[in-house]
Amino acid sequence: MKLAVVVQRYGADISGGAELHARYIAERLARHADVEVVTTCARDYITWKNELPAGEEKINGVTVRRFPVAHPRNTAEFGKLSHLVFEQPHSLNDELKWLEAEGPASPALTRHLQSVASAFDYFVFFSLRYYHAWHGARAVASKAVLVPTAERDPAMGLAIFAPVMRGARALMYNSFEERAMIDALSHRKGPGVVVGVGSAIPDRTQPWRFKKKFNVRRPFALYVGRIDENKGCAELFSHFERYSVMYPHGLDLVLIGSSVIPVPKHPRIRHLGFLSDEDKFDALTASDLLIMPSRYESLSMVALEAWALGKPVLANGFCDVLRGQCVRSNAGLYYESFEEFAEGLFLLDSTGPLGEVLGRNGRDFFRRHYSWTVIERKYLEMFDRLKREPVPELEPLPGFFARRTRNLPPGAKVIAAVPSGPAV
């Protein structure tokens, strides 16, 4: 079997959620099939500037083929178009312009996919909301398997995406909540399965080494990820500062990741910056719990890693996916207000009554559903199943005038109408 994994950025040092997800999947599927990665020359997901050389290279034994991005993102133009398509009635043409402005616009990549379509059995596209996935999935629709990594954001409410969702051969969802949202948006009937992704969990971790290296003496709650307002970090800081006043002997907060917003200067908040995987896993083992303050997640890999290491998670209750996972796994609590945040931290503290039990559940949950054998099996079984399934017809784009009629509702309005809440 020959597979192509198509993703917006790819590299051993690129750590974005969907990109890492794609790399893990490509490397794992390479054990069972001939896998090639098709991607762009971009490294930065905001500008999509061509920073890596076009052409072929090998990363961890997988062939990677890069194509240049035609133009970097014009943020002002993208902002204007985003406002139009998310907030106002607009046309299909406006949405296509928005997609072009969002990037990474690489017509060369799409042309390549068309030219090699017959050489591959399936094309696995990551992140539907980007140019490469939308155009690619339309170019080779009869072999397109989508990993949408869709969050509950207005972009998913745009009319251009539903036909692609319906036309793809299969959808590999990250969570039940994502599947419910996509089903509601596209009324898709074809095959799909909730898979998610595993992680490279080390066999042994050294929590004491982490504590010694970073001089961490007190018990702490951990946050791993980009320190950004979009990730809920501003709210996290505000909640934690109040918590530290209420519980002077409570947990400290340790942050791992690059910061976009300033980290408050507080005696109980430590920012360690971007760390290696080894340090990250040691930190997870050394921590009492992991905090996930983001409201928009299609799947939190770091939450899965925490569960794999037997640590409970305190998640933002407004994120349907995280909340659903906490409930299904019985391995984490969630909060929607400061009081719930403080109570959750108190309960999940390692000296508290719950942390260990939830951590144990988390380890069990990860082993049963996110271990690599389970993930690989789900992918391989889906490819087998697709051989027997009928190929759906891809809906063509409307005509010249229909594309220019401003009769589409705002994306934010569409997504707001989709039922929300955890799927439990």
């Binding site: 909730v194 019985n330 609590l333 929607e336």
Partner: protein
């Protein structure tokens, strides 16, 4: 292929969250989310800004953040009056300019219009600044109201908490008083019990003495705490079993409903009442065993026993 749908049985996160929310509600009276708080604040804001004396659409006016584009202005210089993009006309105007100046003074007009242009610019700037200030005032007002609402709710919750704490404290005080009374009663009863335990042995020995000696000891008067207790001649009915084998019959007299210990004492002191206290007939010594020692706690007639045994000991 089965999707993941298995749930651990050991703990139930949903139940835990319900518990957490119940605790929070108990702590602060009502559970408001941030959105609810904002809504409450909005209601308050409208209430504050919409009394009879204020314009009814003030809130709307405040909320309107429509940026009015600046009014068109003009630059007015010395040559503005004669400007044209047509070269020929410009030349003619230049030619007849002295003639025009002969009939009236256009410089005054030019100067006035130049000043007017500057005034317009300044007014425009001032208006922009005022708009900025208005926006800031609205934001300030809004934030103040939100804070006020938050504080109002907090005060309400604190009041409820104070009430709850006060009722708990009352309960604790009552409980403490009950414990104190019980401990005091036990403290009083304990020496008596110890004394009885000590006396049980000699009393047993007394039964082994010769009858004459027993009679002597029974006849001897004694003083017990200033209260003269006279024991009846010969063995009393209640004392019979003691002489037999040292087994004591426990009797407890219960108060009648509504009767207090004071009432009982008064009854005992009254003529014809229960005997065994000062002034009681001597032949009723056996009955004194029943009434004299009953203080409301479980006692076995220590008063009378003390009298009889004390008498024996005094021998």
């Amino acid at each position: 292929m089965a999707d993941l749908n298995v749930r651990s049985d050991a703990v139930d996160v949903e139940q835990i969250m319900k518990g957490i929310r119940a605790r929070i509600r108990e702590k602060r009276g009502a559970d408001y989310t941030e959105a609810e708080l904002q809504q409450l604040a909005t209601v308050k804001l409208e209430k504050f800004l919409d009394p009879k004396s204020v314009r009814s659409d003030l809130v709307e006016q405040f909320r309107k953040s429509v940026v009015v584009p600046p009014a068109p202005n003009f630059e007015f210089g010395e040559t503005t009056l004669y400007e044209t993009h047509r070269g020929a006309i410009s030349a003619i105007r230049k030619l007849f300019k002295p003639l025009l100046k002969l009939f009236f003074n256009p410089d005054k007009i030019t100067s006035a219009l130049h000043i007017q242009s500057q005034v317009n610019t300044q007014t425009e700037q001032r208006l922009r600044r005022m708009e900025e200030r208005e926006r800031l005032s609205y934001e300030l007002l809004h934030n103040l109201t939100v804070e006020l609402t938050r504080i109002g709710i907090e005060v309400h919750n604190l009041k409820m908490r104070a009430e709850s704490l006060s009722s708990r404290m009352d309960f604790d005080e009552r409980r403490a008083r009950a414990f104190e009374a019980h401990t005091e009663a036990q403290r009083v009863a304990e020496p008596r019990r110890q004394m009885e335990a000590r006396h049980a042995e000699p009393r047993h020995a007394e039964t082994q003495r010769p009858p004459q000696e027993q009679q002597r000891s029974a006849e001897a008067p004694r003083t017990d705490g200033g209260v003269s207790v006279a024991s009846g001649g010969g063995p009393q009915p209640s004392q019979g079993p003691r002489g037999d084998g040292g087994r004591r019959r426990r009797r407890r007299r219960r108060r009648r409903p509504g009767q207090t210990f004071g009432d009982q004492q008064n009854q005992a002191n009254a003529p014809g009442g229960p005997v065994g206290m000062a002034g009681a007939p001597a032949d009723a010594g056996g009955a004194a065993d029943d009434g004299g020692g009953d203080d409301g706690f479980d006692d076995d007639g220590g008063g009378n026993d003390g009298g009889a045994d004390g008498g024996a000991e005094s021998q």
